[in-house]
């Protein structure tokens, strides 16, 4: 069979100023949620709502992904003496439990306040 030549895209195809698609916007939000589970010293402090272009998105995505890798490899910020490094999964599970208990507490507070007004 004859070899098939595969054309390359033109240089003009590249546009890192292209505005982010809904897919990339979701990707940024997901990575931000992952970032917020990192220790504070590993977070980027980048405000993702200010990200408008693919190039900016790639910069943020790259930083967070690298930091997630580093955290898993235990190469992040120096550990506090004697403190065990918590696994990412455990932190995520704790975050879910914390959110649940915050919701329950808020509901209880609401109910209590309602009873007081009566």
């Amino acid at each position: 069979m004859a070899t098939i030549k595969v054309p390359k895209p033109p240089n003009s195809a590249f546009n890192k100023e292209r505005r982010v698609s809904s897919l990339l916007r979701a990707h940024l939000e997901h990575l931000q949620r992952a970032e917020f589970r990192l220790p504070a010293e590993l977070q980027t402090n980048i405000y993702i709502n200010a990200i408008k272009t693919e190039g900016e998105a790639a910069e943020y995505i790259g930083q967070v992904t690298a930091r997630l890798h580093a955290a898993h490899a235990g190469m992040g910020a120096p550990k506090a003496k004697g403190k065990k490094v918590t696994s990412m999964a455990a932190m995520a599970a704790r975050a879910k439990t914390k959110r649940k208990s915050v919701k329950v507490k808020a509901k209880k507070k609401q109910t209590k306040a309602g009873r007081g007004r009566r």
Binding site: T3, F14, K16, R18, S22, A58, A89, A93
Partner: protein, 410 residues
């Protein structure tokens, strides 16, 4: 035991972005009537009352801007043509209406009906002609990327029809976790393009490092060294960004990224596997797309086994609940192996749950803890611990082909 299955050691899946079957492969129907592609009568009404036919006028870039709507309500309009009545019947007549909603431009909205003539996509169409192309591979749900990719990783989207992130303590393991937790242990890797592109599979990124993740460069190296895991999932580049050696063009083919960049990426993955003779004879490569991207396709998605979850009317955005009992729009899917005869066209119904179903059944065997959808999903590689049905086995040649396509990347 058919020798192709006997020698099979690796399954590789490459999932691209947001293009429908008719848009990418529909033109093949004119040279192969077995392929259910474009026919002269296919059309959609536009908002000015015109009947607009599908036309071979798709461009690589700059045409589908804005990005066509592929979220649940938009896809519902595309499939049902705007009919929201009980007992409605899908007619695939709402694509132009849906695209019109985004820019209110009648002329522009008609471009959603454009498809690629086959000579513009030499890689994808050659692979479709030379290996096994699926006439009936559908997105798993009529919605966007994240929930469809979830079906490829977990066999379900856990009741999600949008772009929500999944929490970690869901009832079913991803196919990667199943494989590495199996006894005997199997191997799996998700290769994303590079760090600035990253993976869409964030949940696993949070959990398993570095066992489950690698980059595209590592994929190429692993192919060369014969170190591919049992199961690999490859993601394209999702962004235009600067790399160490210059500009890196997005290769996912998501509008409005350049389609030729994706062609090049697909060819590179193919060449990487084929370039190692031991790997080539022992690997099956599936190239598919996560969803149709809001772009026209004519085949009505079929009903399917529900997966036990229900999305609320609020979550769907249509005012109707969704019981995950209907598939999404058709997408291109091609299975590649030197043990597959040229010109195979597969008419059985597949969807993205077929991916974990296939990898699980082939590398582990029976596995109970997975979604009802995945348990009944058809598989594209037959398991070898049971008698093989020759009518189903796609890796059917007795002798490996020596005439498989070669791609020159220049």
């Amino acid at each position: 035991m058919p020798p192709g299955l006997d020698q099979l050691k690796h399954i590789v899946v490459l999932m691209m972005e947001n293009r429908s079957f008719d848009h990418m492969l529909g033109d093949l129907a004119k040279t192969n009537p077995k392929i259910d592609g474009i026919a002269p009568a296919l059309s959609n009404p536009d908002t000015a009352g015109n009947v607009v036919k599908a036309q071979p006028l798709a461009q690589f870039q700059g045409q589908l801007d804005p990005d066509p709507d592929h979220h649940f309500p938009g896809v519902d309009l595309q499939i049902f043509g705007g009919d929201t009545s009980p007992g409605r019947v899908a007619n695939m007549q709402g694509f132009i209406k849906s695209y019109f909603n985004q820019q209110r431009d009648v002329k522009h909205s008609q471009k959603i009906m454009y498809y690629f003539p086959q000579e513009k996509l030499p890689v994808l169409t050659t692979l479709a002609k030379e290996f096994a192309v699926f006439n009936r591979w559908f997105a798993s749900i009529p919605g966007p990327t994240i929930c469809n990719r979830a079906f490829a990783h977990y066999g379900t989207s856990f009741g999600k029809v949008g772009m929500d992130l999944f929490y970690i303590n869901e009832p079913f393991k991803s196919v990667y976790n199943r494989l590495i937790d199996a006894n005997p242990k199997r191997t799996a890797k998700l290769y994303y393009f590079d760090v600035p592109s990253s993976t869409m599979e964030i949940v696993n990124l949070l959990q398993h490092q570095p066992e489950l993740f690698g980059t595209y460069e590592q994929f190429l190296s692993d192919c060369k060294k014969g170190q591919l895991p049992d199961y690999s999932f490859v993601e394209p580049n999702y962004t235009d960004h600067d790399g160490d050696d210059g500009a890196l063009i997005a290769s996912d083919q998501h509008p409005d990224h350049h389609v030729q960049a994706g062609e090049l990426f697909i060819a590179t993955i193919y060449n990487a596997i084929k370039g190692n003779p031991d790997l080539w004879k022992s690997t099956a490569l599936l190239v598919t797309y996560d969803e149709h991207g809001g772009i026209y396709d004519h085949v009505v998605p079929p009903a399917c086994t529900p997966d036990g979850f229900v999305a609320s009317p609020n979550d769907t955005g249509t005012g109707m609940e969704f019981k995950f009992d209907r598939l999404g729009v058709r997408v291109p899917a091609i299975l590649i192996s030197p043990w597959i005869p040229a010109g195979i066209v597969v008419d059985r119904v597949f969807e993205h749950a077929s991916i974990p179903a296939t990898a699980t059944s082939f590398f582990i065997g029976d596995y109970e803890q997975r979604s009802p959808r995945e348990k009944v999903a058809d598989i594209f590689v037959e398991r070898t611990d049971k008698p093989v049905d020759p009518g189903r086995n796609l890796l059917s040649r007795d002798v490996m082909r020596d005439d498989c396509p070669e791609f020159d990347l220049g």
